[in-house]
């Protein structure tokens, strides 16, 4: 299980200025956030505020310029080495030459574990892709590819699940359906989850807690809990409480 700590984290990048010289500009922070085990956190904020940077820092794909990122009091690279990190990007990042089954076997192969037929079948059933076991990514629709990506992220029962705009490339109807499916799938194991999204509704529908970041350099502007009972029905989206929270968050995204 995983608890996350971002302690006074900043990230700056070097930018070329003219022909000579480089200038450092701040992309993120300082940010100070703790996430308890099993919490589903949604990160929203204006474009370029550093949401994806936070995810990359947690995934160990990037290092903070100052401050510290820890997962269970260890650096994120430890979690990679334990094969305990599940991640799904906006673009699916599946191996195009492998079938659905083959792609789902990959995390087991990399971790040096044997994948049982039952576990693969279980994962395929979990994301509702029965009958597509032997299809290649090119033969699947965008929504189906994202399901495979999510199933792969969950394959090794990760301690931490990171979702970077997982439904950003989908049409509105598919996206809504995938939202409800994600909650169902998530409830089966409840890993600590951080999801970056552009959609306020998606955040309110799925998250236990929403962090709104400011414009660059991104800082936490709002940190709010979402207390709706789970599983959350589609009818929730028509209630005044849902709309009040969504409107409030949307307003907070407008430039000050």
């Amino acid at each position: 299980m995983a608890t996350l700590a971002l302690r006074e984290v900043t990230r700056s990048f070097l930018r070329r200025t003219g022909s000579r010289g480089k200038q450092s500009f701040a992309a993120l922070g300082p940010i100070d956030v703790r996430v308890p085990d099993g919490q589903f956190v949604a990160l929203i904020g204006p474009s370029g505020c550093g949401k994806s940077t936070v995810l990359h820092l947690l995934a160990g794909l990037d290092e903070p310029t100052t401050g510290e990122v820890q997962i269970n009091n260890l650096p994120p690279s430890e979690l990679q080495a334990q094969h305990a990190l599940g991640i799904a990007f906006q673009e699916h990042a599946l191996l195009p030459w492998r079938t659905v089954e083959g792609n789902l076997r990959l995390p087991f192969e990399v971790a040096g574990l044997s994948s049982t037929k039952e576990r693969i079948r279980e994962l395929i059933a979990l994301v509702g892709l029965n009958g597509f076991e032997h299809a290649r990514p090119a033969e699947l629709s965008g929504g189906m590819r994202q399901r495979v990506a999510i199933a792969r992220a969950l394959a090794l029962k990760p301690k931490l699940l990171l979702l970077d705009e997982p439904f950003g490339a989908l049409d509105a109807v598919t996206r809504r359906r995938m939202n409800f499916e994600l909650e169902r799938i998530w409830l089966e194991s409840r890993p600590t989850t951080v999801m970056v999204t552009h959609s306020v509704e998606e955040a309110v529908l799925l998250a236990d807690r929403i962090l709104v970041l400011t414009e660059r350099p991104g800082r936490v502007r709002i940190d709010t809990m979402v207390d709706f009972a789970r599983p959350r029905p589609a009818a929730l989206m028509r209630t005044p409480e849902f709309h009040r929270l969504a409107d409030e968050l949307t307003a907070s995204l407008e430039p000050a």
Binding site: A59, L61, L95, P96, V110
Partner: protein, 247 residues
């Protein structure tokens, strides 16, 4: 394939071959351009056909050995450069140097080191080495950034990344290099034979030229072209299949 997409290329070929036949028969370009029918009749003559077959087998053998050795070495060195980045700059320069050496200039050196029999294969391997070094290196570096990040988050080691991601993603580029290298191997083998190999198509070319056996010379060139085109065609099919699958 639609019949039409056959028709025009076929018509074009027949027109060209017909023009060759007429031009050869008219003798307008002298004795060095025999009619097509005269060239083809070489293949009907049993002793000369046997000579061509025997020579083709020898040349094909040298080219194949040089091709296999050069391709394996080129790909292996490219993998080494990929795994040990500090070596890459030096190996890149070495490969360029190998490519800059004129094959012709290497011939005499190989004759005194490798011997007459092995020079054709050795010369065939040189350009193949270079082409496979370049195409394998490009292919290994062409992995998509997304998949690369994915493997990092899965906790994949260097070797797993190479075996499960990079080497598969590199296949189309490698096959593309192998396709171009097939012709280079034939050229290397034939040039290698000119330095005094006992048999081979290169020897038949030289002998028929010196003895003014013009139809035999042309027939030999046709055999060489057919081998090169066939290997190029087969590897094109393999490359296409790989691109379809690996995308």
């Amino acid at each position: 394939m639609k019949p039409r997409s056959f028709f025009y290329p076929l018509l074009g070929c027949l027109l060209l071959l017909g023009a060759w036949e007429l031009l050869g028969r008219s003798g307008a370009l002298g004795k060095t351009l025999p009619a097509l029918s005269q060239v083809l009749s070489v293949f009907l003559d049993a002793p000369r056909r046997a000579l061509l077959l025997r020579s083709a087998a020898a040349t094909l053998g040298s080219a194949a050995i040089g091709y296999a050795a050069g391709a394996c070495a080129g790909a292996a060195v490219a993998v080494l450069a990929h795994l040990v980045p500090i070596l890459r700059g030096g190996l890149d320069r070495m490969a360029v140097l190998v490519n800059a050496l004129p094959v012709i200039a290497l011939g005499p050196i190989l004759i005194i080191t490798a011997g007459r029999e092995d020079t054709p294969a050795a010369l065939a391997s040189v350009p193949v080495f270079f082409l496979l070094y370049i195409s394998t290196g490009l292919g290994l570096r062409a992995t998509s950034h997304r998949l690369d990040l994915m493997f990092t988050t899965l906790g994949a080691g260097r070797w797993q990344r190479l075996m499960k991601l990079e080497s598969v993603a590199a296949l189309p580029s490698i096959l593309s290099g192998m396709k171009i290298a097939a012709g280079s191997a034939m050229i290397g083998a034939i040039v290698g034979e000119w330095f005094g190999a006992p048999t081979g198509l290169g020897i038949v070319v030289l002998n028929s030229m010196e003895n003014f056996q013009i139809p035999l010379l042309w027939a030999t060139v046709i055999v060489i072209a057919a081998i090169t085109l066939a290997s190029y065609g087969l590897l094109t099919l393999a490359e296409r299949a790989a691109r379809r699958r690996i995308g």
